[in-house]
């Protein structure tokens, strides 16, 4: 396991950002712990997703690279795959519902991908993606359930532990489970005694229930501000999480916003709601962290600030 994680890191390290780790005296005082935040908001394209996407694209055969890649996503994976493909000289086609936020469409296009719109019904995305694969021979790069994606995401925690040494706990958010799976295998490979805690919004607790009951529950239209965590576990992420994660806890929407405000106001970091979820788990005090050394994976910082800056611009004119 460790060898494969190291090989992955070697392959992608000159392209990804080796993101900073930060600490906060106030946070340590609040938690009575030594907290180390791994800041993937500073990753290329604004989230950890670039690690997995670039690793997946790098792992393609020459023939696959010539044909191109595709995925369906209106979130961070879309932007990550778009840039990863561009950097590898590979064509990328991203399928998005026709009602996707304009800012996400533009961001994905700005990194070089072609965007193909589909309907808004539950299976429209998969169907349109499959049609593209059938017609053009693109390779599907799924946002979380692929092994190369999971190994790519594992490099964040690999870097964290290499930088700060052995940890007692590592907290990561859970949506499709790609980041949590990667966090878990890196933690268990480098520091087997550390406990890995997945954190999920109460309003989107499918992974919590899946982990508890030993079977995958699909996530059905969950209502959470953490828009990156609305997806379901896949077969691979479910298996890896069951084998390597010690617990999954849930937190409220208010706790997510409180953690986000702490990160912005006290730590001066722009973090999206999904990115604040792991810290919300730590601050919820469901787990006794007294005197523990705690890694916290902060997943991304892509927030639409258009209206915030519109308001500021109105003030100065």
């Amino acid at each position: 396991m460790l060898e494969k994680i190291e090989a992955t890191h070697d392959r992608i390290k000159s392209t990804i950002n080796q993101t900073p780790v930060m600490t906060s005296t106030i946070l340590n005082n609040l938690t009575n712990a030594d907290c180390f935040l791994k800041l993937e908001n500073f990753q290329k394209t604004g989230s950890f997703k670039f690690r997995g996407a670039f690793n997946a694209v790098s792992s393609l055969s020459l023939e696959q690279k010539e044909r191109g890649v595709t995925t369906h996503s209106s979130g961070n994976h879309a932007q990550a795959l778009s840039l990863a493909a561009k950097m590898a000289g590979v064509k990328a086609v991203v399928v998005m519902p026709e009602n996707a936020p304009k800012i996400k469409v533009e961001a994905t296009k700005s990194y070089g991908a072609e965007v193909v719109f589909c309907g808004t019904k539950p299976n429209d995305r998969e169907q349109t993606t499959q049609e593209l694969i059938d017609e053009f021979g693109y390779t599907l790069v799924h946002s979380s359930n692929e092994i190369n994606i999971i190994y790519g995401q594992s490099t964040a925690t690999y870097e964290l532990i290499k930088e700060v040494g052995m940890l007692d706990y590592v907290f990561a958010p859970c949506g499709g489970g790609g980041l949590l799976s990667g966090t878990a295998i890196a933690t268990k490979a480098l520091c087997p005694n550390a406990k890995v805690i997945g954190v999920e919004p109460k309003n989107a607790d499918d992974a919590y229930r899946s982990f508890r009951d030993g079977k995958i529950y699909p996530s059905i239209n969950p209502n959470t501000i953490a828009d990156g965590l609305r997806t379901s576990l896949g077969s691979n992420t479910f298996r890896i999480i069951c084998e390597n994660v010690d617990d999954i806890i849930t937190i409220s929407e208010e706790q997510i916003v409180d953690a986000m405000e702490f990160l912005w106001s006290r730590m001066k970091l722009v973090i999206e709601p999904s990115g604040a979820v792991s810290l919300a788990g730590v601050l919820s005090k469901q787990i006794d962290l007294k005197s523990k050394k705690v890694g916290i994976v902060i997943s991304g910082g892509n927030v639409d600030l258009t209206s915030f800056f519109e308001k500021i611009r109105k003030k100065i004119t």
Copy 2:
């Protein structure tokens, strides 16, 4: 000069945050330069002011420490001096106008200082401060014009150049001139061929005019969003700037907000308007930076986010 800067850094380095330096591919592409951002938003109390304040407090005699310190400020210096004094076990009394924003009063109190309110007329602050000094024997720690403050601020650029090596240009914002003075002496001491550029809002261009005409013009109620840059130069900062700064340029309010939006949206950093001014100067392209190695001092990140998070909280309930 270099010896004194090094001695200052040695004295304060275990207390201040040695803040990170960040780069951005997008920024380098925009400017055709190699840009290195020194991020003082990650300094204790959210701005570079802590460097100077802690150095000033550390340099007091035992007798002065026993009596305590005072200053008049409703901005970042108030919070910085408050925490610096607390960490040194020294009493701090901060004079603020009675209409100072509640969040700034609370922040200053939260770091441990006593706040004394004064009237809102031009000389009320100085008068109240002088009365406190006369009655209690406090030592005045001015926000920018004191030599120990200036040497404290110089450590930001000292760290920057020590980390990234020789630079061709260093950009810093200019308000009272403490940061620009410190930036200039550190740059000239470590890398004498580099040019130091001060950046000021057009709407508060007293330092620009003072530098041009060789005499101090007071700053009179300037209307700029960069609230940290509304103060006038002092005798020491004016002299050091005239001797060590190569040019002062001015930028518009729109350019400040554009730079701020770039820092938030693309670099995921919470930066206050004054903190974005140096980058606005770089992005204004008044100086040809093609293929140059450019240091940019980002001064702080204290923004009132109360209404931003109120709006988010309304959405989730």
